[in-house]
Structures are given as C-alpha cells and as structure tokens.
Amino acid sequence: MKTGIVRFPGSCDEVDALEAASRVGEAVLLWHADRDLQGVDAVVVPGGFSYGDYLRPGAIARFSPVMEAVAAFAAEGGLVLGICNGFQVLCEAGLLPGALLPNTGLRFVCRQVECVVVNERTPFTRGCGAAERLSVPIKHTTGRYHAPEVVLEGMEAHGQIVLRYAPGRNPNGSERDIAGVCSEQGNVLGLMPHPEHAVDVLRGSDDGLRLFASMREHVDAARAVA
C-alpha cells in the first residue's frame, strides 16, 4: 500500500502520519499546491493548523489544489483518513457530514483518551474487535463534533459513527460522544484523536496502529479481488 500524506502550509503532524503509515507500507508527502496524488492507494489529511486555522479551522485548506484531487479520489472510492485538522478540512470540504466547533472548555486539550470502536466494519477499523477500546491521544481546541439531529440519526442508522469517546471521557463536548465519523460509503473517515501518535508502546500506546493496519488490509483485499 502506498499512502499519501497531504502537507499544507501550517500542517504539523504530517511527518508523524508519514512515519505511522510507513509502518504498514510505503508513504509519501503530497504538496498542497499539486493536483497529482502520485498513484497512492490512500490519503491522509493530517493534523496541524493549516493556513494558521485562520477564519475557521480547515476553511481555507479545503480550497487548495490537492483537495480537489482528494475529493475526486474519494468519489472513486479511495480511502481518505482525516485526523484532527484533517477531519476539520474534510467536514469543510463536504466529504464528511457535520462540523467541528470549539471545545466546550474553550481551551486546547492534550490528553490520552479511551475511544470505543462503534463500527468495526469500516476499511479503517476492520482489524479492531467489536466495542474494542483504543487508547489514543487528542490535542485540539476545536473538536466538538456537531451535526443536525436528523443528520445524526441518519448517521447512526448507516453506521457512520465509527468511534466514540468512552462513557464519561468526552473531552470536548462532542454530540453523542462522537470521536470519529465516516462517509456514507465508508471510505472517508475523520477523527479528532490522533492514531499516528499511538503507534509505539514506548511512547504510550500502539492502539492507533490498528487503523493503519486496517487500511492496509482493505487495500490488499481490494487488490486480491481485482
């Protein structure tokens, strides 16, 4: 599997994502001004503060040339993982439903959190057990997931809620404790926790590696069918 990590001006966790993705395959950086996705099998839109988070987090990045290519890639069923700022970018771009609002505490929070895998049948969670708990850090100011009630109901029905914060551990006031959601087709996932910062027990946890390994499995399986 070849994973492309988008690099915007102001991205911060792109090298971390590159290192994490490299643990399950090949990984390259994709420059924000390029439309060429270099034939990757999956795209990661990483964390950080693209364009300084000015105006609204993700609002300016979504209009970059690379995001046009990522939208087309997603429309063809390509795997797109948006982490933290990447999740915000994907919501702004309309590739995922909903929006991220400032944390109810209004402050940046960096903390290891427990997440529950709500849907283990997505390309990103197929290697996880049902209701498995993952220890992954969060670090953000704008991570309170919001979508209109009727949209949330639809998402629940379609299995689009993929990760929730463990009961009582919601760090930002997200509706229904939502930590990560996927598109209706399931090939685009956005989450506030940072799986790329949970790939080595020496640094606290390797639970995040499951997501990258799942993507690899999915790509390999799709290739085998083809």
Partner: protein, 72 residues
C-alpha cells in the same frame, strides 16, 4: 465598495465563548447581560457586492453552524 459581514453562531448552537463572556460580566459588576453570542466581523473591499452572498456561503461562514449578515 467597502462591505462588512457579520458572522455569528447559528441559533441553538452552543457558544461557549458567549457563555464565558456572559459569566464574566456579572463578575465585573455588569448585571443583566444575557444571550451573549460571540461571532466575528469580516471587512472587505469588493468590486461587485453581488458576490457577497456566495463568498459567505463558500468561505466566510460555514452555513451549517454559522449565520451571516451582510452589512453595507
């Protein structure tokens, strides 16, 4: 022409900044301020004011969570 766009959280969306200001005012001796909402003001020169609604819908505001108001 000079235009102003006021962007504020949609009614019903929790606005923790507004809540924080609302809590702070009585502490400073200002009683009776309620329903505080904190938004932002965008000022810009535009050639064609007719572009403003589209600019707001696409970039200046996120219609899912924010209302906007164009002030001449």
């Amino acid at each position: 022409m000079r235009a102003r766009v006021l962007v504020r959280p949609k009614a019903g969306i929790l606005d923790p900044q507004g809540k924080a200001v609302e809590r702070a005012l009585p502490a400073l001796g200002f009683e009776g301020a309620t329903n505080v909402r904190v938004g932002r003001l965008v000022e810009l020169d535009v050639a064609d004011p007719g572009d403003l609604p589209a600019m707001c819908e696409k970039l200046l505001a996120n219609p899912l969570i924010e209302d906007y108001e164009i002030v001449a």
